[in-house]
Amino acid sequence: MKPTDIAAPDYFHKVVDCQWACPAHTPVPEYIRLIAEGRYSDAYMINWKSNVFPGILGRTCDRPCEPACRRGRVEENPVAICRLKRVAADFKDDIRQRLPRPSSKNGKRIALVGGGPASLTVARDLAPLGYHCTVFDADPKAGGMMRSQIPKFRLPDSVIDEETDYILNLGIEFKAGQRIDSMKALLAEGYDAIFVGSGAPRGRELDIPGRKEAAANIHIGIDWLSSVSFGHTDKIGKRVIVLGGGNTAMDCCRTARRLGGEDVKVIVRSGFEEMKASPWEKEDAMHEDIPILNFMVPIAFVHNNGKLTGVTFQKVKAEYDAKGRRNLVPSGEADETINCDDVLVAVGQENAFPWIERDCGVEFDKWHMPKVDPKTMASTHPKIFFGGDAAFGPKNIIWAVAHGHDAALSIHRLISGEDVNERPLPEVHVTSQKMGIHEWSYDNDISPEKRYKVPHRDKVIALKDIRTEVELGYDVKLALGEAHRCLNCDVQTVFSAPLCIECDACVDICPMDCITFTENGEESDLRTRLKAPAPHPEQALYVSSDLKTGRVMVKDEDVCLHCGLCAERCPTGAWDMQKYLVDMVQAGSACPSKSRSAA
């Protein structure tokens, strides 16, 4: 193999698995260290810059970072990255002084359709640069699906208000209750760019016999949640069936429990394991005495002269064909009818763009989705950009934020007369952490603690009021314990071949058997000759240039604890621990960059 080019910005970025997995590339280990130091406001600002909604995401994020967390490859559970983010939001001081100021206008006007996370991110990135941003939303308050679909017991209004206000106070014009009905009309208003962040607002129908007749007691999940959220709905029948296995279904069933549902069941077509809902959301639902029944396909709504009485299900089982694809086939058992008073249908969401005229310059594909460049978020109309669920279908908040950053950068480049397709490289800082012979400016002592549970409010109290937040969040002590579990994967092991005397000290001390000195070879061959198995090719091998004996140093990055013992035991300083920080490119200097210099 060729010597690893550690100067390539992506090489070390990939080693920080959590940050690499985060669509917005939040510098996770950096903010976790700040939490451990009690610097909550600093930790919050790092998050705010990357992901815009730390308090909201700290309660609701889909956490792509956690399955990626290296800790999960070393012991049972990853670091509770998401809930530590909430700690930063909960314990921070007043940070308003650190936010960018509304700047003098540059005369350019941007229209943003929808007031959800994608649009708000675009507005946050562009407003401080002088753009006049106008956000249109059909709802009375900003937040989009964060406000309308996520139940208040998971995400209180106060948190949404706080974080949407930080953005709206940058001098953004928010047009509440104003639905955009025509793209052509909007274009005619002469905006310099238009961003579409209108989400995936349509709940998928379940068209089976009885649907029309019993419609009064059959509700589309996201519409119903929204109606609950804005106070239009405040009760439901005692016996409720929720159809669907995603996170919306989990929100529906738990909301139903709080509005009078005593016997609430979630019933899914697939197996329990294959459900789309996040494992922790399933756990929370089951904790509230909501059983999840699987392998049952709804085939009819049963009603008595239009009054819903139950749902009939066909029992199925999973069969796998030669290619490993799953098919649900009838199991042969008798159909089962389960009685209920209400049904909530949460079987998916769809995009809907009835308001975009098909001849306005935005091309759509055969699935009726706009053609959007995943890098620039540009549509086929030069001035129109998409992001969030509106771009590629339902994803989650953190993806919407990432899209927002990319779209804002594109809009800024477009209006500045630069090539939208050309993306500047991120700025990378790599700094030695050495303080003494065996002292580092990060805590390299690996905590053996297991993942700490987030305390929950007592169930009896939690179920009484839909606005009572269930999760209490970590207290300072628990947060400190959890923060110490972080392996500091951004503190990189950096090897200098000319300094190495091949004494093997690093090989001997490495607790994870990551390091091998051997003859060079092709990667597939090298992987078989290492001190411990290296079965994950997506985890890089760090290969040095040739050493004195003609061998090379090979380090498997996979399960490195970043404990720095290799560097402590190195007599010549050939190993060093260096902190890698990457400043992802955002539109202009939209946000204060000083808050990042927390080293």
Binding site: H438, D445, I501, I509, T549, P571
Partner: protein, 351 residues
């Protein structure tokens, strides 16, 4: 040394031996030696050898004297018996322990100061008596704990870190061990684990006095130009006569070397060593030739490494003395004191 303890986490795909242990289970405390010390590599090699042989840690007695080398038993086999004796007295303590209980595996760890100076006589007598043990000398040619004076194994003409030339002749412990009748004699280098690990494993299986001289660079005081025990010097002058593979029952070795280049040595206890010859003429069973070979190459400034001599039919001190097989601590009073009738018989035989 290091402030933090070595994390308990280990690689999820780590190999396990017959006992279900990983090599991490054979570790001891974290080393307090200087970063980069050759001794730590010897420690790692002992750990690896015990792991590969699936030795139960409680069956090992590790005994040492005084010095950097003699600290190392603290860093391996944390669940074995250990005795840190007086300077140079490891061989006596080991001999005594061995006489009292022959069922343990005896691993003596010493250094060039401990064995070639203050304990030179002790070393000599334990070897000539044929104590069943593995005697490892971690040889750096320098007194590291007292800041780098020449030891008795430093080569004449080699230079200290301050530039002083050594005018004394060096003691070659391998030559002496051969001359005194050691039945397994090897030399190796801390910077070459592929050679060192099987050499240690073979010695642990050998029944008789096994002696291993391991050149182990002192990174603090003896790893400079002019030293003959530095990483660079040893790598340049290393003349390996053979490569050893220890054949354990579990992993029958698939020998795919050119015919005639591999020699299988079957030891008394049934353990087998596979020797890959590098020097085709070298006969590992010829003690006299080995001594001559060693001196000839030493005169040329070469460091001969590998398994230099092995007597597969070796006997040990217990068979010489016809001692009781059972460990002394398990002998009951009626055996230890067989009564006056037995005494009368003995007395009668002497009249």
């Amino acid at each position: 040394m290091t402030y933090i303890a070595k994390p308990k986490f280990h690689h999820p795909g780590l190999k396990k031996n017959e006992l279900g242990f990983t090599h991490r289970d054979y570790e001891g405390k974290i080393s307090t030696l200087c970063a980069g010390c050759g001794h730590d590599s010897i420690t790692a090699s002992i750990i690896e050898a015990c792991f590969e042989l699936s030795i139960e840690p409680h069956r090992v007695a590790k005994i040492s004297g005084i010095g950097c080398s003699s600290k190392t038993p603290d860093y391996f086999l944390g669940n074995s018996h250990g005795f840190n004796s007086v300077h140079g007295r490891m061989p006596s303590v080991l001999t005594g322990a061995n006489l009292a209980n022959r069922e343990l595996i005896y691993l003596g760890v010493s250094g060039d100061g401990d064995s070639a100076s203050i304990g030179f006589g002790q070393f000599a007598h334990s070897i000539r008596r044929g104590v069943n043990m593995t005697y490892v000398v971690e040889n750096n040619g320098v007194y590291g704990l007292t800041k780098g004076q020449f030891s008795a194994t430093a080569d004449r003409g080699s230079k200290s870190k301050k530039g002083v030339t050594n005018t004394d002749n060096a003691i070659d412990l391998v030559a002496i061990a051969l001359q005194l009748g050691a039945t397994y004699v090897a030399r190796s280098f801390s910077g070459d684990k592929t050679q060192l690990v099987p050499v240690i494993a073979g010695a642990l299986q050998h029944k008789g006095a096994a002696f291993i001289d391991v050149i182990s660079p002192c990174v603090a005081f003896n790893n400079h130009a002019g030293s003959t025990k530095s990483f660079d010097y040893v790598r340049e002058h290393n003349d390996a006569v053979n490569r050893l593979d220890v054949i354990t029952g579990r992993d029958p070795i698939t020998v795919d070397y050119a015919p005639g280049t591999v020699q299988i040595v079957e030891q008394h206890d049934g353990s087998r060593l596979a020797l890959r010859k590098i020097d085709a003429d070298y006969d590992v069973h010829d003690r006299v030739a080995a001594q001559a070979f060693l001196q000839k190459h030493a005169a040329k400034g070469q460091i001969v490494t590998g398994l230099l001599y092995v007597d597969p039919e070796a006997e040990d001190l217990h068979s010489h003395l016809n001692t009781v097989e059972q460990p002394l601590n398990s002998l009951e009073a009626d055996v230890l004191c067989p009564g006056s009738s037995v005494l009368d018989k003995i007395n009668a035989s002497l009249r």
